[in-house]
Structure formats: structure tokens, C-alpha cells
Symmetry: C2
């Protein structure tokens, strides 16, 4: 079979592929990332690339995604274009995902450690009860005598009982098999690595001499979009470094549903599973290199993700999650050796996956509840996590209820021609004043598109300035030079082509606004339904915590003003960023916190909205800016 | 390299071996068993074989073990003879071990189920609490609905909670990974195999449909000399079949000490470990074939053996057991997958090893305590297990003490020219009356030697008839045609050459009697020291149970009369045979019994006799028939 060379710019990644390979597959092989929402079906148009040299053969049907100008410039859809020549291909910023915002920030603070959480709950602040899930204990043992000739392993556990919370211990056969020699050859000085396993101490390994300082763990957040790995020195509780990257599973679909469809119909679970393992191994290798540690000294991982991500992590088939009645294989996941799924840490290192509650309430939410501390205190609080799904939790130390609503990926930049994820070049803040649009982009570079927080700002600013009405329709009674017809649709101009990175104007249409309103409506309807379900009103919430991938640029007052978030005193509202990672780290660093994730998972009552009539009514009522019932938003006043 | 064919008679086992292979190694390869006590060092003379055809080249030094007549007949020591020709070799009865007494008895009753134990404690007699360590549970599950959409594994554990004693369950990742499909493809009808693991239920596998009838377990006694495997149908508690064979480890030494020396100095642990695994696999294969079951349906093994055997079973180094201060690697052994040590049952099948107490009080004794029920009742009882070591346990439901004394292998037939193990042709009963000797052999065949119970009888009969005095010395004042000088030693003739299988006379010398007196003295001294230690006297024992490899032919009154066993009412004394196997089976068939083995192991206090002065004094006092203190044996009267 003929092979051709394909070079992906700007990174100059080269690959030799067989004839008829698609450009998307070639990019996958070359490790050049190209966005795609639909999993290579030619349905989303996200994988636009520009042929710089060579003859490409795009599938004609998919040219409908491209403007005439784009076609002239050599743009094609990578998933629908087969290689029949040596090619040089430019992947435009908009189609790349390497420069996720999450990657550009070195400090762990970015991951949204709310100050309150840091001060009151971060395990390392409470030295007396600091007790990580896996602990290395140095044991200088007394030598046996005829008066004290208990077995070698009993000699070890006798000491461990004094310094760990466990009474009973488990040990693997392999660990026992060389124990006698190890003790005698090292003058009875060894270090035991002990993990919590159910209520017993599981001895993972016994090392020669004192290795108690070489004791590391990983906290991992497996987001649908991004994966973040944090390296922690368990002896001190210090966060050594954090790295994040896009989720490589995006090759198989942008959102969880399309990945499930791939895994359960066209493809199989295995490649989707392997993608997330590759993510974790890549990030871990980078952390190990930066911090100059030995992977054999990483003995524990706590990972949090939504239920589908947790299934893919463990190579469980998530196929019944997708379809009514939405049944996962498991919500509480077994403690496994990380090597069982191919994660390259210590041979005996364990992987704990934060438990889920149901198919659409995952470990990320359980970790979030842990992180914000709402399950510990008597006052009622609310946690709102906004992504493709909006998950809501309400409760206190006595009860917790939750629900999940499919919000669609609008706030992640999908479904809008100029929408994009929160990566470099995305507009994250917008202000419209006297007909001029001011904006800020991530990375302070030329604008390539607009992300979730930018879209919230845009809608708010458009209503405030009377450009759209409270139904989301353009006000065509007034002249507006920024409002133009394009392909038969009215579009509002945010950034002219001359200013943008892509030389395309950044605009928004009525249909796209309607789509965003559906998303915000679904989230708000879920919050309102759940609040009604428990017989409360918003003002009863001591706090509302907002988590999600917006980045730190989320403007809460504007999010209230468009009716996405409830209208309560913004002092009681807090953006807590990546609370999934925070919760995973807290569980890693404290047995009590880990056990709390199990308790939270058990205590949370999930309300299935797909089965719940009030939700549909609330959804319809929420398709207005801010809401058809203005009494719900007393502080929001638009000029009429 | 040249190869030669060696044929072992009488079984006609043929093997092709390289030049210079020893006959012992060749026999090992050919699976023709030849006794050897010293592990192939040319020190014990037990591996005599007869060259029938071909030229053998025995090492000249070892010819000292053979009489001139034997040399003429072509006898050589197999371990010291190298193959340099095609050979046909006869293995005489005395050098064979295939026909252990244990093998010749099909019925499980032979394994010494004391009647009391059968009636009061055998799990299947108590149907209501019959609860094997591993249980298959058929689960016809309700299909999930939107109102009942718990995870697949929760759906399974919800049902298991109703029918097992467990509240919490563990499951392996492998078992979870194909669960979703298995349930949906089988109409929600599956069978879960659940094992006790700590206090939780460990789900070993989930099978399609109803397999609850295909549910088997093995109880195994790993004796130093013999290995017995028993197949049990766990659903009904029925013993399906029992098979035993010599312990293949005998290749590396007859007793535990020489095997430890081999494993820790000349050789390594691995071959000794592999030998016992081969034993278990051979016996299991034979049981599987006879009972026509699938090895994949055997999901659990409970094995009991002394501490060294348990270490060899699990491939733990027993090297510190042998030397002061006698420290084993472990006394409580982890639950492992049988496949981890190469035992060929179900992939997920588990192996539980009955816990030991100390280096010389093993799981066989703990199983024995379980079997005789002494740890359950308020009256104080005593268990005596006689082998190369004599182990003694005294106690009741409140306390248990134990000790072990090195008795030497005299009662196993070693150390005497005519001694042999309790195999076919061994004299097991002797009576001397009016100068004639009457005897019975195992298997009712021609006598080849004399085993433990026969030796006890011989000593008793010799004292009773005034042939020896109470010091064990021959009475030479009276003429006795059976007393002859041979190689400078006086020897008493039991069986003349003309009547014996080997055409050698079966005789006993003063030195051999002295050796037996040391063995019985050590056992009695241990019983006496331990009884004194707890401040009791023999008459306070409600029962004395005697266990060990004597076979059912042990004559208790004669064992008392020579001072081996305490002089109490023989109605209160009971021979319980292989109580190690009985205990292992009881643990297999009941979780409560298994847990009792752990409790017994923890409760038993071991007294180190090597460190205990009263024992040495008792030992010296016991070197008399029956004892220097005749008040200890009021019922024993010999004519003076």
C-alpha cells in the first residue's frame, strides 16, 4: 500500500501514513491535536484545517461547513479528508487545543482553591490529624529474642499499630515472600508503605532502610475537556507541581455522549480508556521530570471525574449510562493497583476513584461537595457545577439532594460559529458601551473566538444595551451598524475580521443566543426545581458555590443578570473553580476526607429530572432574560 | 551428551536420561517414588534399589550401607549411583512409598473423624448455620427502571445482603469490567461466587445463569510425610472423595529440618515449594477425574499444615524457623488466589491457610484444636499430636497453652534398621506370648519392617515378657533364642528372614530401643511440663485426644504402659487420627469455624521448651518404662 508524508503546522509534526487515512487519523498518529466535537463523523465542523501544500481530497458533502472564502483558501474538514498525496497542513488556532487556559498557569491557586476552604479544611493546616491515604512509616524494629519471637510480619504490624489508625493489616503474598531476608539483611530497619483499604491497613511494600521521605501521591481531575494531575509530597502535604492538558478522548467525540456512542457502537471502550491513561501517564512523566522524583515513589492516586469518565478510567463499559434508565456499572469503585489500568507509578501503587452517585452525578461532584465543606455544617448550601451538564447539590450535614440537567455544550463554546473553549485567544470578558465593544482574550493575544464567560457577558451586555430584548431577539427598530445579515441570518459583530486571529469576524446570531438561553434555562430550571423539591427558597442558602470550566473570569453579577444563577447577595456566592481537583487532593491527604467522599456518595439523593414534570415547566419559564417571573430576580433591572 | 533408558520396576516406569544422572534423579523424572531421608546426600541408606539389568556404577563410599549379600544381589543406593548404561531397576517395597496406608483407604472415616466431632460439630449436621467459606448464590435480579436505577454492582450486592452474612462487598476490577454486558445478555440472571475476606464479602466471579450447584472446595492436610486432599460439594456439604499421597518434598529431606537445610543452604525454597504444589495438583486432578467435575468450579481451598509446610506452600522462606529464636515470616497467612502459587483450580479460586501459632505450633495443631472442640467448652482438655515433633495443647474455652518438643522420627520408623513408615508391609500390631511373636502388617502382606504403632507394641511386649527391663536393656540372665549378636550388637528377632518380604530378618537393638525411649520421653516430658505449667494434674483432663500418623492401629493402653501417654482412664482418651484434615474441612464448610481458627491461633500461648528448665528434668525422669516416678502410672504394673 502507498504511504504519504503529512506535516502538521505550526508544530511541524510529521507522520507517514497509508493512502486513504483521514487527516484526523493522521493527526492522531502524529500527536497533533485537532478539535472535534462529533468524534469524526463530519457533523460538527470543528476540525477545519488548511492545506498548505499537496492535493487534498475532501468529501464533497462536508464542504457545506465551509464558507466559499474558506474553500478557496484550502480549508477542509480533517475527519472527512483522505490522504492521497504528501501534504502540509496548517491547524488553525481555533482547531487546536494544546493551549488550554489551564496549561498556561503554573500556580495551583488557579485551580480555584476557595479561601475559606484553604483556611479551614486543607489537611496540612491541621497537623495533628494529617493522615494521608497512603503513608510511609519508618520502622527501626527490635531484634527478636527467645522471649520475643513473634513472626516477622507481626513484628512489623505491632509497630504499625502504634503509629497508624489501623488495628488490622493486610499484606500481599509477594510482599511476605522476601520479608524474612529483607529484615535480616537490613539490621531490622525497614520502611512500610501502608494504604487504607476498607477499615484495615494494607501494606503495599516494605523497603530497606528509611525511605519515608520518598512518599508521593497524585490528585487527578478527569474532566471531559481537560485532565489535571497534581503531585503532592505526602510526608509534608506540600503541592509540588500541577500539570493539565486537553482530554485525549476528544478524538472519539467532544462530549461524554458522543464518546459513549463511539465506545458502544462504532468503536470500543478500549481506545477511549487508553486515551485517558495516556493523558495521565504523559502528565505524570512531565511532573516526575520537573520534580526529579522516581515514579516508584508514587504510591497512591485519587482521581475524580464524572461517572462516564470514571468508567472509561477503569475500562468499565459505560453503555447503559447513556440510555434510559441510565444505569452505571458501579458508583463505588474498587481500590485497584494503578498498574492494573496501565498507569505508570509504583508497582504496588493504588488508585482510588472518588465514588459517583448516579450516571449523571459523578465523583467530580462528590469531590466538589467535599471541597466546599457543605456536607459538614448545619446551614443549607448549594453547589452548582456548570459544564455540558449542570449538576446541582443542595444540603447540609444532615441531608443532601442533587440533580443533573443536560445543558448542552453552549457554555463550552460549542454550537456557535464563533464559540470556542477557554483556550488562548478566546474572548473571556466583554463590555458594550455606547456602541463600542471592549473585550479581553485569554493570553492577551488576538481574538480567535469567544468562550463561555465571554458569551455570558455578551448576552448581558446586549440586553443591557437594548441590542436584544428579554426574549433574546434582536431589536431591529433601532439602527445598529454592528447588526448585519450574513448567509440569511442577522449576526451581531463582536470583533471585525481585521482584528481577529482568523481573519474571520467574530459574531453571534439570534439562533446562537437562543441556544445559550436554552443552556442557561436548563441550569436555572434545575436549580429552581431542586430548591422547590426540598421546600426552600434561594434566600435560605447560606452560600451558593459555583464550579466549572469557565475559568476565573466568570462574572457572577452578569451570570445572575441573564438568569443563569439565582439572584442572591453576591457576597454569599463564590466561584470555586476546579473543586473536583481540590476534593481529590483533600481525599488523598486525609483518610477522614476520603471516607467522607464515601459518606457523601451514600448520603446524596439523586432526583431524576427526566422523570420530573416541574422541571419542564421551570425550563420553559426560564427561557427569558433573566426569567419570565421577574420576582425571582428582584435585583435585576433592565431599561425598557 | 549420551542418554540412556532407565526402567523402574515394578511399575515399569521408563525414562530417558543424560549420562551421569543419578538413579534418584531419574526416578524423580520418571515419577517413580524412592524413599530418602537425607535428601540425596548418601547419608541415610533409605534409597536402596536393585539393578536387574545393565551396568550400574555406585559410589564406593556408600557401599557401607549394604550387606555383602545385598551387594552381590545388585543393590545400590539410588542417590549415589550414576547412569552410564541402559538400566532396569527394581525399587523394593521398603524403598517405595506409593502405598502409604492413607492411600489404601477410600472412606473418609479413616481420617479419624471422632464420633463426638461428627455428631456435634460437623457443619452439615447443622443445616441452619451451614455457611461455607465460599458460596455460590444464584441471583435472578429485577430489571432496572427509572425508579430503581442503582448501579449494576449495587443491584447485585443488594440481593447478596439478603442471603449472605456480609454487609459490605469487594469486587475485583476484572469482575466489574464485563459485568454490564453479562447482566444484560443473560436477562439479569447470574450467579455470584462470594468468599469471606476479613469481614466483607469478596465477589470472586459472576457467572451467567444458575451455576449454584457447581460449587466445590478442597480441604487439604499438608503433612510432612503425607498430603491428603478432600473434595467437597459446598452446596450440600457432602464429601465427594479423598486422595492422599506421600509428600514429594521428601526428595529434599525426610523431615522438616532437613528440608529447611536444603532450602536455606544447599538448594533454594523454590523446588521444595514446587514439590508440594505438584502434590496438590496431582491429587486434585485425580479427584476431578474421578468425580467428573470442572476445575473451574473449585473456588476455595483450606489447607492446614505445620508452620514450615505452610511456609513452603506459600513460597515463604522458612530459614529463621530453624534457628534460635525460631521466627517464622508469618503465622497468619493472607488469603490469596490459589493460582498465585500455581494451584490449578478456578482462576479466581482462593486459598486460605489455617493460621499457625509459632514456628513449631502450626496450622495442623490449630485445625486439630478446632476439630476436637476443646476451645469451645469449659472443661479442660488436652490434645497430643505425635510425629517428629510432639505438640501438646491444654485448655478450654477461656485459655489455651501449647508447646512442642522435638521427639525425633523414631515413631515414624526412622533411626531403626527395621523401622519403616506406616505403609504396606509395615508391622502395625505385635503381641509376644510364651516366646512366640504374633504380628499384623498393613495390607496383610509379607512384613517388610515395623512402623510406629508396631514399635510401641514391641517395647510394651518386651517389657511385659521380661525381654528388656524398665531401663530398656536386654535381660541377658535368661536364655532367649530370639536374642542374637549381629555386627557386634544384641538384636531381638521379630520376624525371621525366611518370613520377610525383603529376605532380611526384622530385628530391634538396644540402641534402637533407647532411641524410641528418648522419643517417648520427650513427648511425655512435654505433656508433663505443660500440665505442671498450668498447675493441673492429668486426672483434671476431661479428655485427652491423640492425633498423629500412627494410623488407626495405635494401641492406647500399650502407649500408656510404655509411658508415652499419661495414665488416665482410657475411656477419656480418644484417637482422633488426621485432625488437621478434619479441622481444615470444618473451616472450609463454615465461616464461623474458619473464624474460630483465627481466634484459636490468637488465644494459644506457646511455651518455648528449649528455654524451659523443668522440661529437661522431666525428660531425664521419663527415660524409664513407664517412668522413674511410678506414682505417675498407677495402673501400669510389670512383673519384676
Amino acid at each position: 500500500m502507498k504511504t504519504y508524508k503529512v506535516t502538521f503546522l505550526p508544530e511541524k509534526k510529521e507522520i507517514e501514513v497509508e493512502e486513504d487515512t483521514t487527516l484526523l487519523q493522521a493527526a492522531e498518529k502524529a500527536d497533533a491535536f485537532i478539535n472535534n466535537l462529533c468524534g469524526g463523523e463530519g457533523l460538527c465542523g470543528e476540525c477545519r484545517v488548511q492545506i498548505v501544500s499537496g492535493n487534498a481530497h475532501p468529501d464533497k458533502h462536508t464542504l457545506g461547513f465551509l464558507t466559499g472564502e474558506e474553500i478557496e483558501q484550502g480549508f477542509v474538514l480533517a475527519c472527512q479528508t483522505k490522504v492521497k498525496d504528501n501534504l502540509t497542513v496548517m491547524v488553525p488556532v481555533k482547531s487546536r487545543a494544546e493551549q488550554e487556559k489551564i496549561l498556561m498557569t503554573g500556580s495551583p491557586v488557579v485551580y480555584g482553591e476557595p479561601e475559606k476552604v484553604v483556611l479551614t479544611r486543607r489537611p496540612r493546616e491541621r497537623a495533628t490529624s494529617y493522615d494521608p491515604l497512603v503513608k510511609k512509616v519508618y520502622l527501626p524494629l527490635p531484634e527478636p529474642t527467645l522471649q520475643d519471637n513473634i513472626s516477622d510480619i507481626d513484628r512489623i504490624t505491632r509497630e504499625l499499630r502504634k503509629v497508624t489508625p489501623y488495628q488490622d493489616f493486610e499484606i500481599s503474598l509477594a510482599c511476605l515472600q522476601n520479608l524474612a531476608d529483607k529484615l535480616r539483611e537490613n539490621d531490622w530497619k525497614v520502611t512500610a508503605t501502608v494504604a487504607r483499604h476498607n477499615d484495615t491497613g494494607r501494606i503495599l511494600k516494605i523497603e530497606e532502610g528509611d525511605t519515608s521521605n520518598r512518599d508521593y501521591g497524585l490528585a487527578i481531575d478527569i474532566g471531559t475537556t481537560t485532565v489535571v494531575v497534581q503531585l503532592i509530597h505526602l510526608k509534608t502535604g506540600k503541592i509540588l507541581a500541577t500539570k493539565g492538558s486537553h482530554n485525549l478522548q476528544a478524538r472519539y467525540g467532544e462530549d461524554v455522549i458522543s464518546r459513549m456512542v463511539f465506545a458502544c457502537t462504532r468503536g470500543s471502550v478500549d481506545p477511549v480508556h487508553k486515551a485517558i491513561i495516556a493523558n495521565i501517564n504523559n502528565l505524570t512523566r512531565a511532573l516526575i521530570k520537573d520534580c526529579r522524583i522516581n515514579p516508584e515513589d508514587i504510591d497512591v492516586i485519587v482521581a475524580a471525574g464524572n461517572t462516564t469518565m470514571s468508567h472509561f478510567l477503569l475500562n468499565l463499559r459505560p453503555c447503559a449510562i447513556r440510555l434510559e434508565p441510565y444505569v452505571p456499572t458501579a458508583t463505588v469503585y474498587p481500590q485497584i493497583f494503578a498498574r492494573e489500568v496501565g498507569i505508570e507509578i509504583s508497582k504496588q501503587g493504588i488508585l482510588e476513584t472518588v465514588p459517583s452517585v448516579a450516571s449523571y452525578i459523578g465523583g467530580d461532584i462528590v469531590a466538589g461537595v467535599l471541597a466546599c465543606g457543605m456536607a459538614d455544617r448545619p446551614e443549607t448550601r448549594c453547589l452548582i457545577d456548570i459544564g455540558t451538564n449542570g449538576e446541582i447539590v443542595i444540603g447540609n450535614n444532615e441531608w443532601l439532594v442533587c440533580c443533573s440537567a443536560s445543558a448542552g455544550p453552549a457554555f463550552e463554546g460549542a454550537g456557535a460559529r464563533s464559540g470556542m473553549r477557554a483556550t488562548a485567544g478566546a474572548i473571556e470578558k466583554v463590555e458594550i458601551k455606547d456602541g463600542t465593544v471592549q473585550y479581553e482574550t485569554i493570553g492577551k493575544v488576538k481574538a480567535s473566538g469567544i468562550c463561555g464567560s465571554g458569551l455570558i457577558d455578551v448576552i448581558y451586555e446586549m440586553v443591557r444595551n437594548g441590542i436584544i430584548d428579554q426574549n433574546g431577539k434582536f431589536n431591529t427598530t433601532r439602527q445598529n451598524p454592528r447588526l448585519n445579515v450574513e448567509d440569511g441570518d442577522l449576526r451581531y459583530l463582536i470583533v471585525p475580521a481585521s482584528e481577529s486571529e482568523t481573519s474571520q469576524p467574530i459574531t453571534i446570531s439570534e439562533a446562537e443566543i437562543a441556544n445559550l438561553m436554552k443552556s442557561k434555562g436548563a441550569v436555572f430550571a434545575a436549580i429552581k426545581s431542586l430548591t422547590d423539591y426540598v421546600g426552600l427558597s434561594f434566600d435560605k442558602f447560606e452560600n451558593i458555590y459555583v464550579a466549572g470550566g469557565f475559568g476565573s473570569s466568570l462574572n457572577i453579577p452578569k451570570a445572575i443578570a441573564i438568569g443563569l444563577l439565582p439572584d442572591i447577595d453576591t457576597k454569599r456566592m463564590q466561584f470555586i473553580g476546579n473543586s473536583s481537583l481540590t476534593g481529590a487532593r483533600m481525599a488523598l491527604m486525609s483518610i477522614a476526607n476520603y471516607e467522607k467522599t464515601l459518606e457523601i456518595g451514600r448520603r446524596m439523593t439523586n432526583i431524576e429530572l427526566s422523570n420530573y414534570t416541574p422541571f419542564m415547566n421551570e425550563f420553559i419559564a426560564a427561557l427569558f432574560l433573566p426569567h419570565t417571573d421577574s420576582k425571582l430576580f428582584p435585583s435585576v433591572k433592565y431599561r425598557r
